[in-house]
Symmetry: C2
Subunit: 190 residues, 2 copies
DNA sequence: GTAACTTACTTCAAATTTTGAAGTAAAATT
DNA sequence: AATTTTACTTCAAAATTTGAAGTAAGTTAC
């Protein structure tokens, strides 16, 4: 609707990697000297959003099964994501909120569970006693490290060569752009 | 961990688009004739997953606010995504499941709400009476169309030129690859 | 110095979303 | 005709997210 056929001599690929054309409302092709897109599918806003939703679901269930394999019962995928977001630095709740765009009460809730499970330590900051400083405990680091370990196999499958790496990076940066655009829109209205 | 420095003469960019290097555990740079990545940040599995989680959250809240603007109270973002997934074709619940990798009982639940709200019609298939055929009602199409309309502004911001389009497409296809890899892994184990 | 305001979080209760076990009925298979 | 499989639905419970209200520490303006 927004982008119309940009070039003459349009060719339509009927199938891309398992998806049939029905999944893409708008398809157009371009023939330029570019290496990357042989065909250009014009991807809309909502298609990306739906894809992201699906992929997110997939990942959550994968993470759940990794956790099960590790025999961990008191940490769900959402909490595991919080642990991974904390990583190996010490930070405040506020910084953690920024990292994941969580809602405050939500993080509080997760941190409570993770604290109870012994995965994180919380120390009141010296300078500002309102601010709780968070860090992983030994146990928390162990879990993250196990998860990262298990994740290594996926990294190897996903990043087979330079081309893959490039695409992963473009995907990452494009998602970051989506994040900014959608986030600003929500705050300031487009 | 997986990808080590691939080339000599490594240069590290300390900041990318608002993110500081601390967000990326592994950074390496390459100097090749490629146009796209001046620097290559090696993006891992989990970083992509965290990004996807964040972006998903952003989008959901944006969608929620669009729905509020439209004065719609009986459809949440999740249900709206189902409506958008249905689109303008008539399909069975099974096909819808595939489209979003939903869990059966989940879709059933949403479809019930959407049916009650008058957004979809369900007709038992003639050939196979187990299979319910789903399609949007006038009201459902209206809502989707309003949403797509509102979405147009985002498409214009996101896809400013050919380069943007290419990146959006690469992001889309890369996400699809993630979907497949993570999905297969969940079923068959890496 | 103290009253008012802001910041940084926590708590709780409710809403939403997801999950899984069990059920139903039609179709396919044996 | 009996059995199994498919295509869904229902229900109850669990997980996650949200928002309103609260607390306590810090800041600012008299």
């Amino acid at each position: 609707m927004i982008q119309k056929l940009l070039h003459e001599g349009v060719e339509v690929e009927t199938s891309i990697d398992g998806y049939d054309a029905g999944d893409f409302p708008e398809i157009t092709a371009e023939k330029q000297g570019h290496r990357h897109p042989v065909h250009t599918v014009v991807v809309t806003h909502f298609e990306l959003a739906r894809m992201i939703e699906r992929v997110n679901r997939r990942f959550a269930s994968l993470l759940r099964s990794e956790l099960t394999k590790l025999g961990i019962e008191d940490v769900g995928p959402a909490q595991a994501m919080v642990l991974l977001a904390i990583g190996d630095v010490e930070l405040s709740v506020g910084e953690l909120l920024d990292r994941g765009h969580y809602i405050g009460s939500n993080i509080s809730y997760y941190l409570k569970q993770l604290g109870d499970g012994g995965y994180i330590d919380r120390v009141a900051s010296q300078r500002d006693k309102r601010s709780a400083r968070i860090r992983l405990t030994e146990k928390g680091e162990q879990l993250c490290s196990n998860l990262r370990n298990a994740g290594g196999a996926y990294n190897r499958v996903l990043a087979r060569d330079d081309d893959d790496l490039r695409n992963l990076e473009i995907a990452f940066q494009t998602l970051h752009r989506l994040e900014l655009v959608w986030g600003n829109a929500a705050r300031y209205g487009i």
